[in-house]
Symmetry: C2
Subunit: 193 residues, 2 copies
């Protein structure tokens, strides 16, 4: 499938208010450099390997593909619907940017580029795997409900947004967003579709 | 399509003998860190935008997705066949690693991981676009043939290998290679295949 450009919107930008927690809080805009969001929890070209990378020793220095977390309004609404919740706030699960207008946002191809109206360009590094920590934060906001932390990873599969790195430094703020979807192909030993 | 692991081979490792040219020459092994090949032409977390990124100002600092260039023996042989040449040496086109045993190597998905037997892990950052500079170097080796520099970009499409970044520091040497192909999907507005 040929490359295509999608016109969409940035609705909200968020960053880390406290380094010791993955929660994020809304800010009017972000100004990113090539290592991510200065002061943010995931700032850096490298990071320590964690539970998601169980093929590496815990704490090993590795390339960071997750400088920013991006979610879509539509995907969060669908997770909330599946969990029978009135809403899921993007800050509860550590998002840095909320977008709207991209169907099946979490499934956009690795290597898709986000051209933000304020200058920054981000590269999609793939689906963000849902985890129980984010589920725990959702659960904390609905104390009358049980086992939401375990329900979240199941409900959020292919809906939890993507992680991204910065390709071009610059601003990110609510407003227009263009997403360039690269040429798509399936490797089947490898016929180009 | 589900993720899969391919058992393959590393045949050769190469690096830059002179910083002022993209040619590479064979070495017994490479020892990469998270910025790539120390002393290599493409070492660094960042690089300057060039002709391939014509949507950016030339020389702009940007994220580097091309610390290493990887080609396959089979794809190079097919390019040579299409160009009616006896061979194409990987060093002529600046390759850092030659692999064998992966069908349609250049088409493997973005995000595929190369687990090298000597410890390094590389992440596929997509197809390497053929260019006239590499074509010029091929032409220089066959002075009796005309216009090989222009023929190369056409003959090499989907055969010129991929670029990659280092996820885990370590060694790269001829020997066993495992390639993890991630789950594949096409975003069609976005049905998961």
């Amino acid at each position: 499938m040929k490359s295509q450009i999608i016109a969409a919107q940035i609705l909200q930008t968020l960053t880390t208010p406290a380094q010791n927690h993955f929660r994020t809080a809304g800010v009017p805009a972000l100004n990113v450099d090539l290592q991510g969001i200065p002061g943010g929890r995931h700032y850096g070209f490298t990071r320590k390997a964690g539970a998601r990378e169980n093929w590496y020793p815990r704490g090993m220095d590795m390339r960071s593909g997750r400088q920013l977390s991006i979610v879509s309004l539509e995907d969060l609404a669908e997770i909330a619907r599946r969990m029978d919740l009135p809403r899921i706030e993007p800050g509860w699960i550590g998002a840095n940017m909320v977008v709207s207008g991209i169907p099946d946002f979490t499934l956009i191809p690795w290597g898709s580029r986000f051209f933000c109206g304020e200058g920054a360009v981000l590269v999609n590094e793939g689906e963000n795997a849902p985890c129980r920590f984010a589920g725990g934060e959702i659960a904390r906001n609905f104390p009358s409900r049980e086992r939401l932390d375990i329900l979240f990873p199941k409900a959020a599969i292919h809906l939890r947004g993507v992680v991204a790195t910065v390709e071009r430094a610059g601003g990110i703020a609510p407003g227009p967003l263009k997403v360039k979807i690269p040429e798509q192909k399936l490797w089947t030993g490898g016929r180009l579709l």
